[in-house]
Amino acid sequence: MARLMQLRTDLKQRFQDVALKGGRYGTVIGLLILFAVFTALKPTIFPTVRNFINIFNQISLLGICAAGLTVCLVMNEFDLSIGAIATLAAVLTAGWLPHMPLLAGVVAVLVVSTIIGLINGLIITSLRVSSFMTTLGMMTVLTGFSYWYTSGSGAILYSGIPEGFLHIGKGTFFYIPYLVFFMIGILLVLHIVLNHTMTGRRMYAVGGNPEAARFGGIPIARLKILGFMISGMLAGLTGILLVARLGLAEPTIGDRFLFDSFTVAFIGAASIRVGRFHILGTLIGTLILGTILNGFTLLDVPYHLQLVVQGAILIAAVTSAGLWQGLLQSVRLRDVRRGLPGGRRESEDA
């Protein structure tokens, strides 16, 4: 009888171990399944190098924007203003570039968006307003500014944008669009910063246990301000590149990036390192979203239904990760028991 019980717990543990390892890669497996399904349905169009490059090209801007958001989320702060920053940056780019040297214009827009992030960070850390409310308010303010700026020109700005600038959005290098290089470069840099520099590790510490970070003498406020500046700057870059790609700007152009960025960042937090926001995860989330949108477009699914699926996938990804995390905790409980003084006394008795 006792042996039977033992066998049962052994089996259970083995199952948990397998589930644990599988669960971490649940979203990756999901991505592969998506690939397989679309390949089966559209074997001539979907699995081509051209289409893959196309997917990467489509997701590049979302990837950049979501990477910035990830930095904030790592510290448990929300940035709801990214969509509005992207919009404003796009509007300003389209408005300023006709009258300014290319580089100066781009730098000016980046500076403006970084300053917006700085303001967010300052309000949140020094006035201690919740980031949710601050960035919500900032979003409203910026939306107003975008409409204001475009109101003189019939809402859409498109004239006089220099050809050289548009080339950034359309040009390729070895068949790979510049935008993809932009995204990969930014993701790589942020990945290294978050995982292999003191600043990044301290950001994780702030998110993991703010009390511990505070008692450990980590300058939490400074890190949060930095995080919001990064997120603002990358949202601004997203807006700039959006103009380079589309050749126009209007005052709702970047709004989608807000909800999409949150979606992919949360899907990312359900991958590989479950329960933690990280750049690799965000990339996986972005790829999943990009693949779905690409595949559905190929299958002629109406755009609005894509929204429904997008929502469903978000819930499914996080639910499955949540279930696995539950298992994870039960396994950890086991480990804790192993390490308890009880276990040590046992060895002393023997």
């Binding site: 450990g216 003498g217 009880g342 006394r345």
Partner: protein, 496 residues
């Protein structure tokens, strides 16, 4: 530190306290709960800004103290709460707040980090792999990590705020050896503890605080235990434990547990009985299962996989707190703040929370009879002598002892058949302890059955009719009233 004053809304937590620490000494800081010890330390750590007073370090005044300037000045803190980052491994938790070793400019050199932390741990005599996740460590090991962090980069001043409350005796001895070796190397230590025997064992000088004021600073050699207690309490030391008649008759059994085994394996074949009018102690070493049993019985811990429980002779299955309350069980949980109270709710709201049903005008509209609830809460506050502005005060502004009395009041509102107290006096000052012991005895005299779960042998000997000892989830001994002593309980716990 000179004339440190810290004011909170409605109270002055510290007032004009002078405190000095000499190089290479261990200076104990004692006082009852709410005396201002932790506040003083948090001012020193730069967590709370001070409202008045000056701080000098080696004669230099420190103007603007923040947690990181405190760190830079060589002050290291072990706070009351475990402050680890759960997602990090041991090495990263230890290096938290200190610079990492770098390579290629600003990239972290993980190998050197692990090697360095490993050697620091080895120096401290702690055998934990620096790459392990802190979530996989036992509580005692987690405390060792927290302590190692404070010692990682040696500071001039080490402040320890009740570091031993979660440690076993051997761990405490190891820690003390560690502290002494640090002091021998020139570090100064401020040591805060409720366990006064530790003060005499470790410290050279002691400072006593009371109600936010300094009472005195003196050499440990020139004072004895009873004098120290007198200084802390303020008057002559009152009697801590109630007198219990030798041959009390107990009533019929309230709780009969038969061969209980919990799903997580922390309790094995546990059988026990609690009678009316009886206070039964349940104890063991940290992790022996006594604390877990309290939660499981109330339906908020691990479930039982086998065995049965009878309550007043009828089968009872602990499925959740709601059922337990319905059957007349009350639980004073081990973690007062996180399990017992809703900090930002008012006193009366907390008191009626478990019995909302009894305060409804009618069951359909579910509207609460405010005035009656308020009146009954006030009655409880009077009979338990809860010190507060009134029943409308939020409980987070109360001291630890008064908060614990609010938790008790919650169950005394409807006389429980069985009251389970899980570490009811943890972190509570002496006078509140005495009141709680008296209350427990009074409740037993009035007919309830009491299961008093505690890890403090002293109080079990003082308040219980008999004491049951657990070891690794099994019942190993039962000590009746006439044999009861702290010595006897400790021996049984350690398997002597």
């Amino acid at each position: 530190m000179k004339g440190i004053t810290k004011v909170f809304p409605g109270t002055v937590a510290c007032e004009a306290i002078d405190f000095d620490l000499r190089a290479g000494e261990i200076h104990a800081l004692v006082g009852q709960n709410g005396a201002g010890k932790s506040t003083l330390i948090r001012v020193l750590a730069g967590i709370y800004p001070r409202d008045a007073g000056e701080i000098f370090i080696e004669g230099e005044p420190v103007e603007h103290l923040t947690p990181w300037t405190a760190h830079d000045l060589g002050m290291r803190f072990i706070h009351q709460e475990l402050n680890l980052v759960p997602q990090f491994n041991v090495a990263e938790n230890i290096v938290l707040g200190d610079p990492y070793p770098f390579r290629f400019g600003r990239l972290i050199d993980w190998r050197r980090l692990n090697r360095h932390v490993g050697s620091v741990l080895a120096d401290l005599g702690i055998s934990i792999d620096p790459r392990r996740s802190v979530q996989s460590l036992s509580v005692a090991e987690q405390w060792m990590v927290a302590i190692a962090r404070a010692l990682y980069s040696r500071g001039r001043v080490l402040v320890m705020d009740e570091p031993t409350s979660s440690l076993t005796r051997e761990d405490v001895q190891e820690l003390f050896d560690l502290v002494r070796s640090l002091v021998a190397k020139g570090t100064s230590v401020i040591y805060i503890s409720h366990r006064l025997e530790e003060v005499f064992e470790l410290a050279q000088r002691v400072t006593v605080l009371r109600d936010g004021h300094k009472v005195t600073t003196t050499d440990v050699d020139s004072i004895d235990l009873s004098e120290l207690v007198r200084l802390m309490v303020g008057g002559s030391p009152q009697k801590l434990y109630p007198t219990i008649e030798e041959d009390r008759s107990v009533g019929k059994p309230v709780l009969q547990a038969d061969e209980l085994t919990s799903i997580d394996g922390r309790l094995v074949d546990l059988s026990l009985e609690v009678h009316e009018r009886e206070v039964v102690g349940l104890t063991g070493l940290l992790g022996a299962g006594h604390n877990e049993f309290a939660d499981s019985l109330f339906g908020v811990g691990a479930q039982f996989s086998s065995g049965q429980v009878l309550l007043d002779g009828k089968p009872y299955e602990p499925r959740g707190a709601r059922d337990a309350i319905g059957r007349g069980i009350g639980l004073v949980p081990a973690e007062r703040r996180s399990q017992g109270l809703i900090g930002e709710m008012r006193i009366w709201e907390n008191i009626i929370l478990a019995h909302l049903r009894h305060f409804l005008i009618d069951p359909i509209t579910q509207i609460i009879r405010h005035r009656e609830a308020n009146r009954e809460a006030l009655e409880q506050m009077r009979s338990l002598r809860i010190v507060a502005v009134g029943p409308e005060q939020e409980v987070r502004y109360l001291s630890g002892g008064n908060q614990q009395k609010v938790v008790l009041a919650k169950w005394l509102l409807r006389r429980p058949r069985l009251l389970v107290l899980n570490e009811p006096t943890r972190g509570i000052d002496v006078s509140a302890k005495a009141e709680i012991y008296g209350l427990v005895r009074r409740l037993a005299d009035e007919g309830s059955g009491i299961l008093f779960v505690s890890t403090e042998a002293e109080e079990l000997a003082g308040v219980c009719d008999r004491v049951l000892i657990l070891r690794q989830g099994r019942l190993v001994a039962e000590i009746p009233r006439r044999e009861l002593s702290a010595q006897r309980i400790m021996e049984a716990c350690y398997g002597g």
